[in-house]
């Protein structure tokens, strides 16, 4: 039985659920530099991304393409010398007007952190403080944001949270070193859910774990998502994993989103050459075996990006104009595609080619699968 089916068994409507129309986090034009001087590196170059309520959004791409930079910049947790140079990150509260995270004051930002958006870090098992008991760390989080709660209430909540992630509540008395890696990860997830955030950002939360534990934890997250209805941004470079769990996938390359579509569409009908190459670099978790390929070359140096499409040097489908025109995110030029999906490739953008006076090109067959 496939993982997806199993998830479907736990939560019958999980796979069929359409992303709600209401956005919860709306990122537009986000650009981030590393460094402040002349030699700064443009790590993100105008990223637009919308996360809807209750949706699992996967972010995928090679190392160094800006996945983590994107989420840390959107939560303003990026460490120096990161610098946000433009953009807007709108958080839509359940009631009231949206707030721009990038323009919030420190106090507002601090208050909204964990309350609205919680994170599970890369290597989260080291995020627990070794000198405090697990229970103390859970209740501290609650106490910081709910100063009026009583001690008993907080402990009850901590107990409930641990049960929720499948750990016995007696473990509240344990120190982090007494827990296994997987349990610590679960504690971190419990902590992230302590205040019932509407957005949960997971930065490679299972990379350091073995596959069995990975699977258990992912199942747990998916169950909790169905129960509590938070939206998830899931970062990984394991595309096959994303296809199993995500509703929608955004593929990043060289600090930009190159394709943004429903998970199934990305898997079966990739429209960007990079997505197509990426999919052929991983074995599918189920289905027939297929030949694996790779993407030749390596990602470009972000400090010296070529003009035009950053993927042009590695792309099998380059046309005239790829090395000079920078592609914008447009709906793909394949009839019958989901109108909400976007791809940044000139082969799908005849208008841009025409505007530059270049000859018209067709969409190659591998990028136009039905």
């Amino acid at each position: 039985m496939s993982f997806a089916d199993e998830i479907a068994r736990y939560a019958p409507d999980a796979r069929r659920r359409r992303p709600a129309a209401r956005p919860v986090l709306e990122i537009t034009g986000l650009a981030v530099d590393y460094g402040y001087g002349e030699h700064r590196v443009h790590a993100l170059r105008g990223v637009d991304l919308t996360l809807h309520e209750g949706e699992v959004l996967g972010l995928a791409g090679e190392s160094g393409c800006g996945k983590s930079t994107l989420v840390y910049a959107a939560t303003r947790l990026l460490a120096p010398p990161g610098l946000i140079v433009s953009g807007e990150v709108l958080y839509h509260p359940e009631v009231g007007a949206p707030v721009d995270v990038l323009r919030q004051s420190d106090d507002e930002l601090r208050a909204s952190r964990w309350e609205d958006t919680a994170l599970v870090f890369q290597g989260a098992m080291n995020s627990l403080n070794p000198v405090y008991r697990v229970g103390r760390q859970l209740t501290d989080t609650i106490a910081a944001h709910r100063p009026r709660s009583t001690r008993a209430e907080r402990e009850d909540r901590a107990r409930e949270l641990l049960t929720m992630v499948g750990i016995s509540p007696e473990r509240l008395r344990s120190f982090p070193h007494q827990l296994s890696g997987g349990m610590r990860q679960r504690v971190m997830i419990a902590m992230a859910l302590a205040l019932e955030p509407r957005v949960l950002i997971m930065d490679e939360p299972t990379t350091a774990l073995d596959v069995v534990m990975q699977r258990q934890i992912l199942e747990q997250i998916m169950q909790l998502r169905d129960r509590l209805g938070f939206a998830v941004v899931f970062i990984t470079h394991d595309v096959s994993l994303l296809i199993e769990i995500a509703d929608r996938i955004a593929i990043m390359y060289a600090g930009e989103i190159v394709e943004d579509a429903a998970a199934d569409d990305v898997y079966r009908r990739p429209r960007h050459p990079y997505s197509q190459g990426l999919l052929h670099s991983f074995p599918p978790l189920h289905g027939p075996r297929r030949e694996l390929g790779g993407i030749p070359g390596s990602p470009p140096d972000m400090g010296h990006l070529p003009a035009g499409c950053p993927f042009a040097a590695r792309c099998a489908f380059v046309v005239e104009g790829c090395r000079t025109l920078h592609p914008a995110l447009v709906p793909p030029a394949v009839a019958g595609d989901d109108p909400s999906r976007r791809v940044a490739c000139l082969r799908h953008d005849p208008a841009a080619l025409a505007a530059a006076g270049l000859p018209e090109v067709d969409v190659p067959a591998p990028l136009a699968l039905a």
Binding site: Y34, G294, G303, E360
Partner: protein
Amino acid sequence: MSNVPVDTALEAAPAAAPLVVRPGAGPRRRFVFVRNGKSVTGLVILAAFTVLAVIGPWIAPYDPSKVGVGKLLEHPSAKHLLGTDHIGRDVFSQLLVGTRGVMVVGVLAAVIATLLAIAVGVTAGFVGGAGDEMLSALSNIFLVIPALPLIILVAAAIRSTSNLTIALVLAGTGWAWGARLLRAQTLSLRRRDFVEAARASGERTWRIVWFETLPNLTAIIASSFISTMTFAVLSQTTLAFIGVANVNDWSWGTVLYWAQGNQALARGAWWWFVPAGLLIAVLGMALSLVNFGIDEFVNPRLRLAGLKPREMRRRGIRPRIGFTATVRDLPRRPEATR
């Protein structure tokens, strides 16, 4: 239409590697330490004092100890740039010649103390156990030995208190603080993964100490060097001023000793003590400025940021951990040129 085959990505893949541009290409970046205005100022002043320490005695217009090269307590003039003292010696020459004593004691004491601190601190941090206990106890004992009274005792015991003696005693009493800092940091570094990895790859202990651990201690070593030097310069001046050091070995403190002993202030002979005091203040300032620059230099994150603090303030960029900096009047859309 297109001459690119459209079979599979693999077959059609261009063989050429992507355009690779080395990060160091383009106009060569200036060495980071010299981009910081503060550290440049500090280094320039230190360099000037070092040059004076070497050539001071040669360029001094008069013998600093020769009595009667001018009139008594002469005002500054073209002939005697900083006037003369109560028995007609040239103050400018005294200061020039005295620079060497100050710098020698400062640098020598700082070098010896820093080497001692590294040896004791890093060893204690690395060996642990009984060795650590003993070395820690040793540095604790040295930490409570007061330097100045000890030198006064030493000076009383031996006939002539040379600059070398003073430097040795200052180094002997001044290393303990640095050793404690280095031990604490080594203890923390010793358990880190990169040290474990070095051990696992079969590196020898001395290599782990010198090539894995020590570069991580650069900041502490450098700033402890600078603060020991400051301490040594001030102590040397103090000793010379109270007359413990040999009064025939010229140094800035010696000038002040003579000035104090002969009521320079009451006589209004400002040229006698103001320049010496200023020199001490300027040297101390230079050392502090260098210390400011060290932090930026050894922290690669700050080093690569590549913008002067003043310029960052001007642009309204405030780098902090936990609250990512944004540019002032953050535009909602990226610039078209990006």
